[in-house]
């Protein structure tokens, strides 16, 4: 047996040595031939000579996120069709290349690379989860390309290669807290969330806001994404008896949480829940019965009573059937395509540097109201809305901020913010 081991070890050792030797060789030769450790960045291959221009849509059409991201894909498609019907962008028709992110960050990175390097698109629209955005960020920075990201998120990011058309925390979480404090007069709160970066960051913000405003945080509970086991969590919520619950649960977990919540006799009157991840699209899935009277914080609702929104809702139902509903992320995606069009037309160019330079101040009369791009941090100014869920499954505005709120992804304008120490 000893003879046996020696032979194997020798062989493995030899193999390992060769492995190290070859990798070292490869590194040296390649480094001397090209040098530089700076971001070389591939030169853009976008073709602007024809009468059409390629853009990329990158949404999860399969996997766990497909149910949400498919709606974003539909509203992006609708925006592209409208723009094409009206003559395109700078006289060029939009030609869409669609890719499936498959609900996996590494696939998002792969497909983003494909859209930029192989299809040579002028800009990419899509992404939903923070992990998908984090995975794509180095791809867009490395290739110096543009991504339009349409979902509210946890902030603390500002890449010059990404435009964030969903809300950052000071346009969703912070207004919701101010509403709870000033209108609902709460003095205590309970935090429930899925275990990933958005809820953890949101709760870090809530805890610091609460400490500075005399609100007691009576509990903080996390469940893994997709968990449907909420018996003990709701028991803790009930025992703690807070004035309100701040809910950052995602997806299916909401079904289990609200069923349990109602089952244990808690109601919107006795202990209201403010949710930041339940939109019109999710209400039927969670069950209207379980949600009636509860609150949400977003920047858009289907019920917004403006001519622009009425037309948007009607067009969307016409394209996708009468049962289709509109919601915040899909509206932000629709808006993102028009904002890109505005930037390109202002710059009179599809070049990334020109679009970036022209971005500041570009505005659009969106279904949610007027939005304006911030040239510094590439987020957009938008109005915060607190809504209440009614028994028709729609959400109605009960409070809105005084006009659009300037985006502040790093919360620099909030003295109580000391950083996301989680």
């Amino acid at each position: 047996m000893t003879h046996f081991i020696t032979r194997r070890t020798l062989a493995a050792g030899a193999v390992l040595a060769t492995a190290l030797a070859t990798s070292a060789c490869g590194a040296k030769t390649d480094a001397t031939s090209t040098g530089g450790t700076s971001a070389a960045g591939a030169t853009s291959c976008v073709d602007t000579s024809g009468d059409s221009i390629k853009i990329g849509f990158l949404n999860s059409l399969s996997g766990t996120m497909a149910i949400s991201e498919t709606t974003v894909f539909k509203s992006l498609t609708m925006a592209a069709n409208e723009i094409n019907a009206a003559g395109g962008v700078l006289g060029k028709k939009l030609s869409i290349v669609s890719e499936d992110g498959a609900s996996e960050p590494s696939v998002f990175a792969e497909k983003a690379t494909k859209l930029i390097q192989k299809d040579c698109v002028a800009a990419v629209f899509g992404g939903w989860t923070s992990s998908s955005r984090k995975a794509m960020l180095p791809v867009f920075e490395g290739n110096n390309a543009l991504l339009f990201y349409p979902v509210q998120y946890e902030g603390l990011e500002a890449s010059k290669n990404i435009f964030y058309t969903g809300a950052t925390t000071n346009q969703q979480i912070v207004p919701a807290l101010e509403w709870l404090k000033n209108e609902k007069k709460i003095t205590s709160i309970f935090l429930v969330g899925s275990d990933y970066v958005f809820p953890r960051t949101a709760n870090a913000i809530i805890k610091q806001y609460a400490a500075a405003n005399g609100i007691k945080v009576l509990g903080e509970e996390y469940q893994p994404l997709g968990s449907t086991n909420f018996g003990s969590v709701v028991d803790k919520v009930k025992t703690a008896g807070a004035d309100a619950v701040f809910n950052t649960l995602n997806g299916d977990s909401n079904v289990a949480f609200f069923k349990e919540y109602k089952g244990k006799g808690l109601t919107a009157d006795s202990m209201p829940v403010v949710s930041v991840s339940i939109a019109e699209e999710e209400v039927p899935g969670v069950g209207v019965d379980n949600l009636v009277g509860q609150y949400t914080a977003w920047n858009y609702y289907e019920t917004i009573d403006t001519p622009v929104n009425k037309k948007f809702v009607a067009d969307f139902k016409k394209a996708n059937g009468p049962k289709a509903v509109t919601s915040d992320p899909m509206e932000a995606a629709y808006t993102s395509l028009y904002l890109w069009k505005g930037m390109v037309e202002k710059a009179k160019s599809f070049k990334v540097a020109d679009v970036q330079a022209a971005a500041g101040g570009v505005s659009f009369d969106a279904p949610e109201g007027k939005v304006t791009v911030n040239g510094e941090n590439h987020h957009i100014a938008k109005t915060a809305l607190i809504g209440q869920i009614h028994d028709d499954g729609l959400i109605y505005t009960v409070w809105s901020s005084k006009g659009p709120i300037e985006p502040d992804p790093f919360l620099k304008g909030y003295p109580w913010w000391k950083g996301a120490t989680g």
């Binding site: 190290l20 669609s98 792969e110 992990s131």
Partner: protein, 371 residues
């Protein structure tokens, strides 16, 4: 066991040289033809498939030759990947810097156990030693207790699920659900530079060839025969005075280390490692490639992993909305018509050509008892 080869037919000259001829062909294809024929984007994708292939080679040894359905290789893939990712984050952060996500989510506090990963040498050692040691400890506990079959498969899958959950829960030290990403350099070379991407591809190809050579050697050694004997009749091996735990442990450890090396290369090539890349689904993805390619053959697992990666990319590019159905159909068709995987096509062709001696090789490679 003075003359272990007597239990098998003396290999023909072709069978003796077969793996080395195959390796040479594969080396030419990967190191010469592919870099010339493929665009940088496609070459980058192939590099990613090669990382899966390296892990698949190990699965071929443990599952195909050793009969252990290793359903949780994602854990070892992740250990290697996260070790590499930690080093890349620290290298990007500078001599005394700490990773960007810790500034955001951990108040700039870095746990002490991250510190050793500043050193490239420690990192390279850890990529091999940590999974190797863990596999040794787990393997000893499992195989000495004679846990096998479905119980072993369930255990390995549960471990990888727990590993992914652990990563998600530790946002401050592992980046949580987002994982570790946004790497700028790889041991001093910019990851944005296309020439360095090509270098990474060549390293992955080289490592795959070496892994294949290692496993080819192991398969033809006395250990390889003992492993097959253990797979097919563990009790008889025990009666003959051999401890079956030993060959199983060795195969399991080699598979773990190969998965970790694949994971470590995956990080600079793909640019991210997250719980999604190491969890249950990712682990099954690895197994799927091996089953498709032919688990008991030398080249089957690697070629299967590359084929699955390629099919996934091209099908999803062509049918963005419905590609998963095509992928599922492909699996069913292949495994229905070729239970031994794609590699059994060659063996079947050879058999049809009339090599009687090779029929034994085919029987050995193709019809492995299911777990």
């Amino acid at each position: 066991m003075t003359s272990p080869r007597t239990s098998f037919a003396e290999p023909t000259r072709f069978a003796k040289a077969g793996p080395w001829i195959g390796l040479a062909v594969l080396a030419v294809a990967l190191l010469v033809i592919a870099p010339l024929a493929l665009s940088p984007f496609r070459l980058g994708l192939l590099a990613k498939y090669l990382c899966y292939a390296i892990a698949a080679v190990g699965i071929g040894l443990a599952w195909g030759r050793g009969g252990m359905l290793v359903l949780g290789q994602g854990m070892y893939f992740g250990l290697g990947g996260y070790a590499m990712a930690m080093h890349l984050k620290l290298a990007d952060a500078g001599p005394n810097g700490i990773p960007d996500f810790m500034l955001l989510y951990a108040d700039g506090q870095m746990p002490l156990w991250w510190e050793p990963f500043r050193s490239p040498l420690v990192t390279l050692a850890a990529i091999v030693l940590v999974p190797g040691l863990l596999a040794t400890i787990l393997g000893l506990a499992i195989f000495k207790r004679r846990i096998k079959g479905a119980y072993f498969a369930i255990l390995s899958q549960a471990l990888t699920a727990a590993f992914a959950l652990l990563l998600i829960g530790q946002v401050k030290t592992t980046g949580g659900y987002n994982g570790l990403n946004n790497f700028r350099g790889f041991f001093g070379y910019s990851l944005y530079d296309p020439a360095n991407k090509k270098m990474l591809y060549l390293i992955a190809a080289g490592v795959l060839l070496l892994s294949l050579a290692l496993v080819a050697h192991l398969q033809r050694s006395r250990f390889g025969e003992l492993l097959i004997a253990t797979r097919d009749a563990e009790e008889r091996v025990r009666f003959l005075g051999q401890d079956p735990a030993f060959p199983k442990l060795l195969a399991y450890v080699v598979a773990a280390v190969l998965a970790a090396v694949g994971g470590a290369l995956y990080v600079p090539i793909v640019g991210i490692i997250s719980p999604d890349d190491v969890g249950v689904v990712a682990s099954i993805g690895l197994i799927a490639g091996v089953a498709l390619g032919g688990r008991a053959s030398l080249f089957g697992p690697a070629l299967g992993a590359i084929a699955v990666g390629y099919a996934e990319s091209t099908l999803s590019e062509r049918f963005a909305g419905s590609w998963t159905y095509f992928q599922g159909a492909l699996f069913i068709v292949v495994l229905l018509l070729l239970p031994g995987g794609l590699s059994s096509v060659l063996a079947k062709a050879r058999e049809a050509a009339g090599g009687r001696r090779l029929r034994r090789v085919h029987a050995e490679a193709g019809e492995v008892a299911a777990v």
